[in-house]
Symmetry: D2
Subunit: 157 residues, 4 copies
């Protein structure tokens, strides 16, 4: 088995320019660290992260919402058309050794929750905070994509 | 097709006495409203909700984590052994017309996120709040199980 | 946990009058035996089996292809909108203690194969035979719906 | 999107030396054709196919039964730990543009059935035949791995 690290970058398909910029930088940082980039393979933040990874010579894997590989964005090395809709969010989280969350969509919150549930290291940038009974969920926040990836890699050591 | 309403009650398998009490009352209120109770079919809050529903003459459906029907709790009328692990959380949310969230486990947060993503009405009692960029997610909170079910049924009207 | 037996009746949505007749009788026999009828909840043989079960006072559970409960046929007591497409065939087989296969669609063959793989008792009427290297797969065949259900119940004893 | 062809090679984890030999040669032929090899990522025929593809410089993708990437065989470039058990068979078939079936396990029969159901080109070597009402299912058979891959590629043209 190839011992490479897999990092899942999760974020919305409908993203602001700021979120797209962060996602693209995150993808590039993942690639420079020699890790495989995992995303949902769609547009928006997913596409930006893949574009960043490819520009840095990285490998990208997309786990698609629908059942046709042609739905994937233009920067995927390999794509799996799951046909499972929202359930594929669980696959995206499970496939990563660690998770980097960007932006504020509900799907992203579901992936953060699954990462916490599965005990996967997770770091956020400009994403959800959540708390229950005054106690916040452990979602470390970083100030930049580079810091986020660095922190995540240290958590994975 | 049976026109009954389905309400999913989501909450942790490892729950405090207070959460168990609320879940049981919620199950009873769902049954009294004539709705089908949907849960993950396991222990803790799931079992308490089913016990409450059965005590009030209701119908209970469990969508189980594992692949054996015998894993279900003692208060299920029908059980589906999904064998899908955490992915079954998506099924629990999708099967309900509305969702009532109790307690503070990570799995519950994933179900809240899926309810928001799928546009399902959701009400919480003593559960997660979440926000992004200072904007809270729309998770209405109720002071009691009865108020929660009443509010949810009004949202479904 | 309710100790009832669950029987899955699998067959095509696009079925001949003969297959529909057999499926309806099979559903009625399942209900008369006091077992829960599980199907994919759609039209054709699935609907016929559910109609038969309901006419005999039985309980029917549909595990639907799509993500909306309204896609279910008119004879379902409970329906789970899986949104999983073909993958729900695995759920239909897993939920039954035994499987009764009718007719000759490819989806039915996938369910027969999963039943064999999962070690579930299975009986067929006018359905697939399969063999490899001259060795037939163990798919006992019955001459009528009644004989098929009787045989299946004996296999489950 | 990368325009490469994906070929799924399906076969048992517990395979005879003859099936292993065919699977390995099939993997090598898939790689030489420039296609991505998709398998369930486990042992037996899956591992042999991946070994063959890697020895010919190909790219291999494994869609694993369990939830840990470490369960994958030693010849995977990328692995997705689905945690979905038998349901991942559907993913293996859906991810391929065409399917090559080897050997006679029940899981292989389920994948053949899904390929037929989804309308994916399929070719078999020493695998299942199936028929209903005297009509055989359209599973073209080849005499060698090389002939099978050649035939499959022509079907995909």
């Amino acid at each position: 088995m190839n011992p490479r690290t897999y990092i899942s970058v999760i974020g919305p398909s409908d993203a602001s320019p700021e979120v797209l910029r962060i996602a693209e930088e995150a993808g590039a940082c993942v690639a420079r660290a020699g890790a495989v980039l995992v995303t949902g393979g769609g547009g928006g933040a997913m596409e930006a992260a893949c574009r960043g990874a490819r520009s840095a010579g990285g490998l990208t894997l997309g786990l698609l919402y629908g059942s046709s590989r042609s739905e994937g964005n233009d920067y995927l090395d390999l794509a799996v058309p799951t046909g499972m809709g929202e359930m594929r969010n669980v696959l995206v989280v499970r496939t990563g050794d660690g998770v980097l969350a960007v932006g504020g969509a509900f799907g992203t919150l579901s992936e953060i929750a699954f990462a916490l549930k599965l005990g996967k290291p997770i770091v956020g940038i400009g994403t959800w905070t959540a708390s229950v009974g005054g106690k916040p969920a452990p979602i470390p926040s970083a100030g930049s994509a580079r810091q986020a990836v660095d922190l995540l890699l240290r958590m994975l050591d």
